[in-house]
């Protein structure tokens, strides 16, 4: 039987503490769209996406209304386009991006992910064509998201790809310079990319997945921060328990929404992603959780330990709440999308180097960080190489989504609007790793014994 305190707790989480379902993402396989005829290929892609996800937004809205829980985004992820492009040229790849953009508009979704390539070991012809077309594809579309996996624990790191991605990010920044280089906010470089991630910009529908699947990403940093605040000065064991209990409750809502959406849409349930995803809104910040745990400002010494504990407790609480967990699952630390992180960077307490250390213990990586527009391509590749090293060596997903904002430098700021937020331009180390990056080749896969 329901009791009043439980009901009020749930209502309070939703109304006061910004608990929401961040995204219902429908993964759609596009393998059956393959054709060597350009026109037929594009028509197949458009028809498959728009027919399969036809009811996605409507169903999401129905669930939202019925259960009284906001579902912020309804999105689609597709098979990495580099895998279905066959022998088409870069021009057709750009047309595919436009087709996906058109399909996203038709469906009423804000992002569609899967303009992606997996090149951790080497390049196929299709992945080369796709990667080289990314800047133009992101410049001429609004809702398409792109990702490239350049490293994995099994394969090591493809340094040619790391080198190339530095240039691609710079070119994307240049081609979207009229809009503060926003193209780069829709481009992620990964190590150990998950195949079922529902969160943008890194979402795509992996090769081992169902024809179609529903993946759900939950949120709720505000709920965790409030629970810690209410607990007061308890010790770490008690704190970990509070985080676990809260994560459990948050994830249960995600599981409920995922199974309802799956049932109503007649599409298999994939996974629930147990992430604490922040927004730029006050009271929806991961950095503020760390500060509530006792740090003066996020970024001070102790931050990595606090984040490691938070991330671990979120997973422990969430795992039992859902039948299948996957995606990125952990605390996100995007800078421009987190009010507390923005404050920490502005105050000078949080630096890129500290963020890098934090990515060793939490979900994903250097995310939504605005850097000076004049940052050299090799420096960006260096950032990517460092981040992939952390992911590869620790058998975890890491990623880089940095935005070299064209024409802007340290001390200035940039606003991307909506959930992408705003950010001060971070002052970064510009010393050149050019010779190291230009060597190319592959960093061999790491050994998994003799751990030190």
């Amino acid at each position: 039987m329901l009791n009043t305190a439980d009901i009020l707790e749930t209502i309070n989480m939703i109304r006061q503490e910004n608990l929401d379902i961040r995204t219902i993402t429908m993964g759609i396989s596009l393998f059956d769209c393959v054709s060597d005829d350009k026109k037929r290929f594009l028509t197949n892609v458009y028809d498959k996406v728009t027919s399969t996800a036809r009811d996605l937004v409507k169903t999401g809205e129905q669930i939202e209304k019925e259960y009284g829980i906001p579902i912020v985004n309804k999105r689609v992820s597709v098979t990495p386009v580099s895998l279905i492009g066959g022998n088409h040229t870069g021009e057709t790849y750009v047309e595919t991006a436009k087709t996906l953009d058109k399909a996203a508009k038709e469906l009423g979704i804000n992002f569609i992910g899967g303009y992606s390539a997996l090149v951790e070991k080497g390049f196929t012809r299709g992945s080369t064509e796709l990667i080289n077309s990314i800047p133009e594809a992101l410049a001429c579309t609004e809702r398409v998201c792109s990702s490239v996996n350049v490293a994995s624990t099994k394969s090591g790191t493809n340094m040619d790809a790391v080198n190339l991605m530095g240039r691609i990010i710079k070119k994307t920044a240049f081609l979207t310079k009229e809009n503060d280089s926003i193209g780069c906010a829709k481009l992620v470089v990964f190590a150990n990319v998950p195949q079922d991630n529902p969160f943008m910009a890194g979402a795509f529908h992996g090769v081992g997945e169902n024809e179609c699947a529903i993946n759900v990403g939950v949120s709720g940093p505000g709920v965790v921060a409030s629970a810690i605040k209410r607990a007061g000065d308890v010790d770490m064991s008690a704190l970990a328990d509070i985080i676990k209990t809260t994560a459990f409750k948050i994830t249960r809502v995600g599981q409920l929404v995922a199974s309802e959406a799956s049932k109503r849409l007649g599409v298999p349930f994939g996974i629930v992603d147990l992430s604490l995803a922040p927004t730029p809104a006050i009271g929806d910040s991961v950095a503020r959780i760390l500060e509530e745990m006792g740090l003066e400002t996020c970024g001070c010494h102790g931050t990595t330990a606090a984040l490691a504990m938070l991330n671990d407790a979120v997973k422990k609480g969430g795992v039992m709440a859902s039948s299948h967990v996957g995606g990125l699952s952990g605390a996100f630390i995007p800078v421009s999308e987190d009010e507390g992180m923005i404050h920490a960077i502005e105050s000078g307490c949080l630096t890129l180097e500290k963020l890098e250390a934090m990515t060793a213990v939490c979900s994903v990586g250097l995310d939504m960080i605005a850097i000076p527009g004049e940052t050299d391509e090799a420096v960006i590749s260096g950032i990517i190489a460092d981040e992939t090293a952390i992911g590869v060596q620790n058998t975890k997903t890491t990623a880089v989504r940095v935005i070299p904002v064209w024409g802007k430098g340290p001390g200035e700021s940039v606003s991307f609007g909506g959930l992408l937020g705003y950010a001060p331009i971070a002052d970064i180390n510009m010393t050149s790793p050019l010779r190291f990056i230009s060597r190319g080749g592959r960093i061999p896969a790491p050994i998994h014994s003799l751990k030190n």
Binding site: L2, L8, T10, K65, E66, Y67, G68, I69, V253
Partner: protein
């Protein structure tokens, strides 16, 4: 199927009567009511059976919310499963 209606706001004459009449007019059967008044603050939680609703559930939710707004009350109507899944294993 059951829905939980929560009503909060400044205490006034006829809140329960108003919400109950709204439910009755649309075929929602009230199973349980808990209410309290703390100083001037009114809080009520109502459990209702909504299998025989005469209007679509989404209209019922919107209508009740609008009904509350006119009287300075916050009214939220949610499917009971969200509470069950969150608080019961």
């Amino acid at each position: 199927m059951k829905a939980v209606i929560s009503v909060t706001g400044k205490d006034n004459v006829g809140i329960i009567a108003g919400v109950s009449a709204y439910c009755a007019d649309r075929g929602a059967n009230i199973i349980d009511i808990t209410q309290s008044v703390l100083q001037e603050y009114f809080a009520m939680i109502m459990l209702t059976e909504i299998d025989k609703l005469t209007v679509p559930f989404s209209d019922f939710v919107d209508g009740l919310s609008a009904f509350g707004k006119e009287r300075g009350l916050e009214i939220h109507t949610m499917h009971e499963d969200i509470f069950n899944t969150m608080h019961h294993i």
